[in-house]
């Protein structure tokens, strides 16, 4: 079992020092455009913390997913912006 950081990561560093398994690699563009989790090392923090630490501090909804690709922080869960409100605002901006 392992978590995965996907391309919406903004490289903010918050997760890296928290990982008890030292499983997170910093971004090194161009090969690694964003932070990455070493699936062989990731334990999802089981035995160390109640919550996976990267998930608990990541500020970007959807940037960390589980093995099934499900967002650990789903849309709206961190910003408080309802997804439909977000979509409406984006549509309004695009229409300007």
């Amino acid at each position: 079992m392992a978590l995965e950081i996907i391309e919406s990561c903004v490289n903010c560093w918050a997760c890296l020092p928290l990982c008890p398994s030292r499983a997170i690699h910093e971004a090194r563009p161009p090969q690694f455009p964003h932070f990455l989790i070493d699936a062989d090392k990731c334990t999802e923090c089981v035995g160390d913390f109640a919550d996976p630490q990267c998930v608990a501090i990541c500020p970007i909804e959807g940037a960390i997913v589980d093995e099934l690709g499900v967002a650990m922080n789903p849309p709206g869960s961190l910003t408080g912006i309802p997804p439909e409100r977000w979509a409406a605002a984006q549509a309004e901006i695009a229409a300007r």
Partner: protein, 507 residues
């Protein structure tokens, strides 16, 4: 409002020794000499200094431990000037290189701050490594830090060790119910905590950090974001409490929120305060507290005088190509500081000449403009927009990118804010948009009755007059306060300042 959560302790210092007496219009007036020396070349702590001295921020701190509803962590925009936004995050080594390059090029640069784009104390290794190198290599640069306060108590010792003399804490509330509307979550003890509980922890840490800093003699500025309908009334309470705890200066800034910023407030349609609302709140807090009026809400990688950004001249690729002889640069920098300090002293001496210098102990109490009170004022206060540089009326109206707003009254002229504008005349064929920009500028200057500038074209003159704003180019290269008072006295003599407000309502 009754706030049982945090009861302010009785202030230990009395009178001016806490350093927060006097007023924004004359911050330096009642200040002890030692304190004055600590802020006189810091553009963010001294209004006088901001006309002459520059600051820079290095963006070494990308991580954050809280979320604020006015912030979007997808910071990456070169065209935005607002806190939290940067173009490139630097390593400590890069930040040190950049700082030395800027300091060698811009002798006015006296202050290096770390302000993000996340929270400096959520990135303690990167932040303190930068400070450690700089205090060794560039002892003539003041170091300061701006934090949300969550991790502040555990880092106060280390801040003191690195000789950090100025710390800014962003405190938007002292009531967790208000805080729950500003902060959706914090990261605390290895957990993400939401809502009211999160706000209560954050508030507790901020207040504790403030007390610890004051106890160590570190100067604390408190920043607050004014969010209409969320914390506007509440900020008066915040101001009172942080003053009682010994904060040196309170900076109430207007919320910046647009849908395209992607922030909670921007997307949800939370409005920003008008300049008049901001000024009213700052005025209301001022009875209790030294208020900062000259903040420009700069980026976490800003470089230059407040109100300008020379960051483009110092991108990492340009810095790598520079040869820096910092020993030589330090001599030039020291000479510059000496020259400005002499100018400032002369200016202060002129400003206070009529007052008795024989009373060094008594704090100088600055009376504020009486508003509609029983004793008849000699003339109502007037807002004047000034196209200024280095404390002088020195910019052509059409070239001004911002206007300082001064309130002139019988009690003197004092800075009360600033308004951003786009220079509408760049002197070439790009002037096509001039008309549109001019209309916008006039709208931005709403509430001001006079605009002071070094020169102004015929067309904008007419348009300004038609909008009830009197242009004035007769005081070019004069100190702002003198020019503003000369114009105010002319208006008074002309009978334009009867107590009842004129058509242009003061913001």
């Amino acid at each position: 409002m009754d706030l049982p959560v945090i009861a302010p302790p009785a202030p230990q210092a009395s009178g001016c020794s806490a350093g927060s007496c006097g007023s924004t219009s004359d911050q330096m007036a009642g200040m002890a000499d030692a304190l004055r020396a600590r802020v006189q070349d810091h553009p963010c702590y001294s209004e006088d200094a901001h006309h002459y001295f520059a600051r820079m921020h290095v963006a070494v701190a990308p991580a954050c431990n809280i979320q604020c509803h006015y912030c979007n962590r997808k910071y990456d925009c070169a065209n935005e000037s607002r806190p939290g936004v940067v173009s490139e995050v630097l390593t400590p080594d890069q930040a040190v290189k950049k700082t030395l390059a800027v300091a060698a090029t811009i002798p006015q640069m006296t202050v290096l701050g770390i302000a993000g784009p996340g929270d400096p104390l959520a990135n303690p290794e990167r932040t303190f490594e930068t400070f450690r190198q700089l205090s060794a290599k560039a002892p003539d640069i003041k170091l300061c830090v701006s934090t949300n306060g969550l991790s502040l108590p555990e880092h106060v010792e280390e801040l003191a060790r690195h000789n950090i003399d100025h710390v800014t804490i962003t405190i938007n509330c002292v009531d967790p119910d208000v805080g729950a509307k500003i902060y959706p979550w914090i990261f605390w003890n290895n957990k993400r905590i939401h809502g009211r509980d999160a706000a209560a922890i954050l508030i507790g840490q901020q207040q504790k950090g403030l007390e610890m800093l004051v106890a160590r003699g570190i100067l604390v500025k408190v920043n607050s974001v004014l969010i209409p309908g969320v914390n506007d009334e509440h900020l008066k309470e915040v101001s009172r409490i942080v003053k009682a705890k010994g904060a040196f200066l309170h900076n109430v800034m207007p919320l910046i929120a647009e849908p395209e910023h992607g922030t909670f407030y921007g997307v949800m349609g939370q409005r920003s305060p008008s300049p008049a609302e901001l000024k009213a709140l700052q005025d209301a807090c001022e009875g209790d507290m030294n208020m900062m009026r000259h903040c420009r809400q700069c980026r976490a990688d800003a470089v230059g005088l407040l109100g300008e950004d020379r960051g483009d001249e110092f991108t990492m690729d340009k810095i790598e190509a520079m040869e820096i002889d910092y020993e030589a640069a330090m001599l030039v920098r020291a000479a510059f500081r000496e020259k400005v300090s002499a100018e400032l002293q002369a200016k202060r001496a002129r400003a206070h000449a009529p007052l008795s210098p024989a009373l060094p102990v008594a704090p100088q109490i600055i009376r504020f403009i009486p508003r509609a009170d029983e004793q008849k004022p000699l003339g109502r206060p007037v807002l004047m927009a000034v196209a200024a540089k280095n404390g002088m009326v020195a910019i052509h109206f059409g070239h001004a990118r911002e206007f300082l707003v001064y309130e002139a009254s019988a009690g003197g002229a004092r800075l009360v804010g600033h308004r951003k504008a786009d220079a509408y005349c760049s002197g070439d064929e790009t002037c096509g948009d001039g008309e549109f920009t001019l209309d916008r500028t006039i709208k931005v200057l709403a509430g001001c009755e006079v605009v002071l500038c070094s020169r102004i074209g015929y067309e904008p003159w007419g348009k300004l007059e038609a909008a009830g704003i009197q242009p004035n180019g007769e005081h070019a290269m004069q100190p702002i306060e003198e020019a503003a008072m000369a114009v105010w006295h002319e208006m008074l003599a002309a009978g334009k300042l009867d107590a009842k407000a004129s058509a242009a309502k003061c913001a």
